[in-house]
């Protein structure tokens, strides 16, 4: 089919492709320019003066951006580790076994993907008040599990559906302990799933805004909260700099996992929440 295609169709394809490229990067450009601008007033197409002021402020000790960066990394890492610890066994149950009520269990686990976070977080907030979890990092980590855990389970049940448990029984019959069997047989086989699912869980947690805002009560200031505050207070230059920092982990994770993102993997569904 492709050999007979006319110049017209080929150039149409090239043009729409070019348009798509421009549209995809367009919103990130003003953010990048603002971070180097020293005042950038209407109707200037480009800043009249450039400076590193916003970046110097962002990396200074007084701004709190770096503290917030570490806090966000810590919260997302904790949510990821918990999701892996809880999600791998659940994924194994759903991927390898057929049992009565399985569809119902799947529905329970997938419900948080469809029901908006705002609908559940208000209720959680009033429970967390009585448990003393409000305004704490622990509370924020727990509430981040609502969006991260379902994806981890989804990815892992896909991995376990293609996993052959015969290797485990062979290892056991040759005298390996359950712990050794898990460490030397199961874990290496499911590692790709844990890595991809874990990176996704990290990104989903990384992008949470309203859950952190409500449960953290303004005391747990993660990077998106800081970004929102600067954006709504009109400090465009600092907003630009924080925005650039904020998208770095995503780019890094993309470079690591690009070949897993064929769209056939359940992991891609995670992007619906970022």
């Amino acid at each position: 089919m492709s050999a007979k295609e006319s110049i017209g169709i080929r150039s149409f394809r090239f043009l729409t492709g070019a348009l798509l490229i421009i549209w995809l990067v367009l919103p990130l450009i003003p953010l990048a320019i603002w971070s180097f601008a020293h005042g950038w007033f209407f109707p200037n197409l480009l800043p009249a003066k450039w400076s590193m002021r916003a970046w110097e402020y962002t990396f200074s000790d007084t701004a709190g951006v770096i503290d917030s960066l570490w806090l966000t990394i810590g919260i997302s890492l904790a949510a990821t580790v918990l999701s892996i610890l809880i999600g791998v066994p659940a994924g194994r149950a759903l991927g390898m076994y057929k049992f009565r009520g399985k569809e119902f269990v799947e529905l329970l686990i997938l419900a948080p993907i469809i029901v908006p976070g705002i609908a559940v977080v208000l209720g959680i907030h009033s429970v967390f008040i009585s448990m003393g979890l409000n305004n704490t990092v622990t509370g924020v980590i727990l509430v981040h599990l609502i969006p991260t855990l379902p994806y981890m389970i989804l990815v892992m049940s896909g991995i376990f559906a293609n996993y052959d448990p015969a290797f485990e029984s062979q290892a056991r019959s040759l005298g390996a302990s359950p712990v050794k069997t898990f460490w030397y047989v199961t874990l290496p086989a499911i590692m790709p799933g844990i890595i991809v699912g874990g990176l996704f869980a990290f990104l989903v947690s990384w992008s949470q805004y309203i859950l952190t805002l409500l449960i953290g009560g303004g005391r747990v200031v993660t990077l998106p909260l800081l970004l929102f505050n600067f954006a709504t207070s009109g400090r465009n230059d600092i907003t630009g700099a924080i925005g650039m920092i904020y998208i770095l982990p995503g780019i890094f994770i993309l470079l690591l996992t690009a070949r897993h993102l064929s769209g056939r993997s359940g992991a891609v569904g995670g992007f619906g929440q970022i």
């Binding site: 492709g17 798509l20 490229i21 995809l24 469809i114 599990l145 609502i146 805004y209």
Partner: protein, 285 residues
């Protein structure tokens, strides 16, 4: 150990977390929306919160706006995503770049996209500056309001920017695993390009597109930060309105906020159900 016990133990931690946090949160929200909270001495459930929500004109305006945002964004994103996937399954100059940007875009949080759209389309944004440069406008107020506007154009632009790659990646993977054989057969039997797309390819990629667009609808209906950055003050999107009620200095507004949260949960469930049913029927005939 029996299989049943094993399955139970494997699932227990996940069900405990999701049950306690997610369904617990929903349940407490439901109780509070009925003014029922025995712990703090409220033992007589009533419907007053729902009454004040459903008699408030702002609620209906917010609902219409939120539905418009979610519906329009989902439909536009789905159509453009299929177009983009059709483009990306062919060889052309720059395909690798588009592919990479598609995936890059998936990792950028919505909040960053919203700020980017704000800087592009606001009345002193990049496009207004371009218009001024070309002499099309003299003052910032001459530029059409595309953010903080009643039609939520900025919000929809942001969602389209973010969701076309999301749906597109899933649809493209579907197309690649289906291959082109079916379409070739249809074409050799005399079908036009459009017919082979409409009656052969589209029904095949539809399930994948539908599940992706359901996720988009749910997200766009319930998201907070994007309408909070790009939306008008009145009417605000439902999640923004619920958050405002919840953080109101008047604590009496909290049950109202809870009622709104429950309404958001129910509405998104109902609309997703209808959307799936309706579009399945449409595409089969």
């Amino acid at each position: 150990m029996s299989d049943r016990l094993k399955i139970f133990l494997l699932l227990a931690p996940a069900l405990l977390i999701i049950g306690l946090l997610f369904f617990g949160g929903l349940l407490i929200g439901l109780m509070r929306s009925f003014n029922y909270m025995p712990v703090i001495g409220l033992t007589d459930p009533d419907l007053s919160a729902y009454k004040s929500v459903f008699t408030d004109r702002e609620f209906y305006l917010s609902f219409l706006l939120t539905f418009h945002i979610a519906f329009t964004s989902t439909v536009i994103s789905s159509i453009l995503a299929v177009g983009a996937a059709l483009l990306l399954r062919r060889q052309f100059v720059g395909r690798a770049v588009v592919n990479f940007l598609f995936q890059l875009n998936l990792t950028v949080p919505h909040l960053v996209g919203a700020i980017g759209i704000l800087y592009l389309f606001s009345q002193s944004g990049s496009f207004a500056r371009l218009a001024a440069e070309w002499g099309m406008i003299a003052r910032t107020s001459d530029f059409p309001a595309l953010v903080f506007d009643p039609y939520a154009i900025g919000i929809i632009l942001q969602y389209v920017w973010k969701e076309v790659p999301f749906i597109g990646v899933i649809v493209l993977a579907n197309m690649q695993s289906i291959g082109e054989d079916y379409e070739s057969v249809a074409r050799s039997l005399g079908a036009s390009r459009w017919q082979s797309f409409r009656h052969v390819l589209l029904p095949l990629i539809f399930p994948g597109m539908l599940s992706a667009s359901v996720m988009v609808f749910a997200f766009t209906f319930g998201a907070y930060e994007i309408p909070a950055i790009l939306g008008a003050n009145f009417p605000a999107a439902l999640p923004v309105l619920a958050y405002r009620k919840y953080t109101d200095v008047d604590l009496a507004a909290r049950p109202e906020a809870m009622a709104m949260a429950i309404v958001i949960a129910i509405l998104s469930g109902v609309m997703i159900y209808l959307y799936v049913r309706y579009s399945r029927r449409r595409i089969r005939t």
